[in-house]
């Protein structure tokens, strides 16, 4: 088969894998949280049923062109992010389109979907949407600061902007992981990760008791279905990114599943323990401790490295 055709086939297969993986992670997490509450909880395949139900809705209401494009941008951000990250190191079909400068593009793509969503949800005109967007953008901008600093520190440490090369440099046991060789950058990155996953205590764009469901208030039926599928792709793409940057990547699918699941549970556990921040608290928090740790990591690895 032609080289590029094969790549496209691999990309689609890889996308199907990650979509299903994300759906199962969300379903299994809901089950585990329910068990922690002492409930039986929804079946692990509940996200699939919810998605199918959203698709099967017979009518949908929209508020203009940007309202349509919001979920499309969001999904583009999710798929674009995933397509730039090598999911499994050394695997031919899960290598995706990783290239030498992908780290910079990845930072951009994480924010891209959010901006599209902001425009789309803004057109819906619902006050909760506008409030959710304001909170979400302020908070995400703040959490990007320690994340960017952690990425700069990692790039300076490995002298590369390619995620594949960063993963390659971490092979050979747990002692080679960034977690061990650059704990400050890992700490800043993982604190930023808490904010980027938007779980409690950073679920302030959704704020279940104040501005229920936030930006997506007006989204319904198939628009919501797009967003539900993006939720699984985007979340698992971010998990894989953090696994690649700080936890040595993965050389097989089971290794990827175990590592990303543990990384995901880091934010679930934090969310179970801590109540929600207000937006100014969250912004201040990100700009204090995680940013300082990030600056320290950058200073150490640019001066000494």
């Amino acid at each position: 088969m032609d080289g590029i055709v094969l790549k496209v086939v691999y990309a689609i297969l890889s996308l199907i894998l990650i979509f299903n993986y994300g759906m199962l992670v969300i379903g299994v997490t809901a089950k585990i949280v329910a068990r922690a509450h002492g409930r039986i909880g929804p079946p692990f395949y509940q996200p699939y049923i919810d998605l199918l139900k959203s698709i099967s809705m017979r009518t949908s209401v929209h508020h203009g062109v940007m309202f349509w494009l919001g979920p499309v941008f969001r999904l583009t951000g999710g798929i674009g992010l995933y397509m730039l990250i090598p999911a499994v190191y050394g695997s031919e079909w899960l290598q995706n389109f990783s290239f030498s400068g992908d780290l910079i593009l990845v930072i951009y793509f994480i924010f891209f979907g959010m901006l599209g969503m902001a425009l789309g949800a803004g057109e819906s005109g619902h006050p909760f949407s506008a409030m959710g967007i304001m909170r979400g953008l302020a908070h995400t901008t703040a959490s990007e600061v320690p994340f960017a600093l952690a990425i700069i520190a990692v790039a300076a440490q490995y002298h590369t902007l390619s995620i594949s090369d960063i993963v390659a440099a971490q092979q050979g046991g747990i002692g080679h992981w960034t977690l061990m060789t650059n704990p400050l950058a890992t700490l800043a990155g993982m604190l930023a990760y808490l904010g980027m996953m938007m779980h409690s205590p950073f679920d302030l764009h959704m704020a279940p008791q104040e501005i229920p469901v936030g930006p997506v208030t007006e989204y319904n039926s198939s628009y919501l279905a797009l967003m539900q599928s993006n939720r699984s792709i985007f979340a698992s793409a971010k998990l894989i990114l953090f696994m690649n940057l700080f936890f040595g990547g993965a050389t097989s699918i089971p290794e990827m599943v175990v590592k990303t699941f543990l990384i995901f549970f880091f934010c679930v556990f934090v969310g179970v323990v801590f109540p929600r921040f207000r937006v100014e608290q969250s912004v201040r928090w990100f700009l204090k401790l995680p940013t300082m740790i990030g600056v320290l990591a950058v200073v150490i690895y640019t001066v000494h490295g």
Binding site: A30, P42, I49, K53, R58, T59, V213, V216, E218
Partner: protein, 211 residues
């Protein structure tokens, strides 16, 4: 100075217009949408809709106190795929929990019409059946199905959460059998429903159909 005064007056004039005269709302009326023709796909969709019921978080009367226990470990309706949803755009099940005052009826209609087809209504408590203990109240409606198409009634004052769960079970059976076509029924008989609603709601300051 005069010009500014004119501007202010014009704004006040605009605001005095009724809501139907202002160009804020879509004035179109809804159409019925039939389910998918293919029998297998339709069955599959019905199954998905029965197993993913999103309740609109809108408690109208005292019966709404029966809803929170549903999500606790004792009853845990999440295992049946039932979740609360705060926005009518995404919700599929509207529980009218108990007596419905005239003021609330207006909000209920607005919320119901914002929900997407297919949508289902559960009448919880005797008040929705015949007025219950408020049958002679000046301020509540007596029969819910004059104003909204009701799929399942749950009688009692108040019904226990178990009764509510049985109601959900009945609703699921109806959805799976393809019999819960309340949304289409509402559209087909829109004139009758609107006439009934307007008898109760005297200050009708909203469009004919709230999209």
């Amino acid at each position: 100075m005069d010009k500014e005064k004119d501007g202010v007056l014009a704004t006040i004039e605009e605001a005095r217009k009724s809501f139907n005269e202002q160009d804020y709302y879509c004035q179109e009326l809804p159409k019925t949408v039939q389910p998918v023709a293919n029998k297998i796909v339709r069955g599959f969709y019905n199954w998905a809709q029965a197993n993913s019921l999103w309740i609109l978080g809108f408690g109208t009367g005292c019966g709404s106190i029966e809803l929170p226990p549903l999500f606790t470990p004792r009853y845990d309706v999440a295992r049946f795929g039932i979740f609360p949803r705060p926005t009518p755009r995404q919700a599929g099940v509207f529980i009218i929990s108990g007596y419905l005052s005239v003021k609330t009826l207006k909000r209920v209609i607005r919320s119901y019409e914002q929900m997407q087809n297919p949508k289902f209504v559960l009448g919880l408590g005797s008040c929705t059946v015949n007025g219950g203990m408020y049958f002679d109240s000046y301020n509540t409606i007596n029969r819910l199905d004059y104003y909204l198409p009701v799929d399942v009634y749950i009688a009692g004052c108040m019904p226990r959460p178990e009764a509510l769960m049985k109601g959900f079970e009945t609703l699921k059976e109806q959805i799976r059998a393809g019999k819960a076509e309340g949304a289409n029924h509402y559209v087909e008989n829109l004139e009758w429903y609107k006439a009934n609603q307007k008898q109760i709601i005297k200050d009708w300051d909203m469009p004919e159909y709230n999209w």
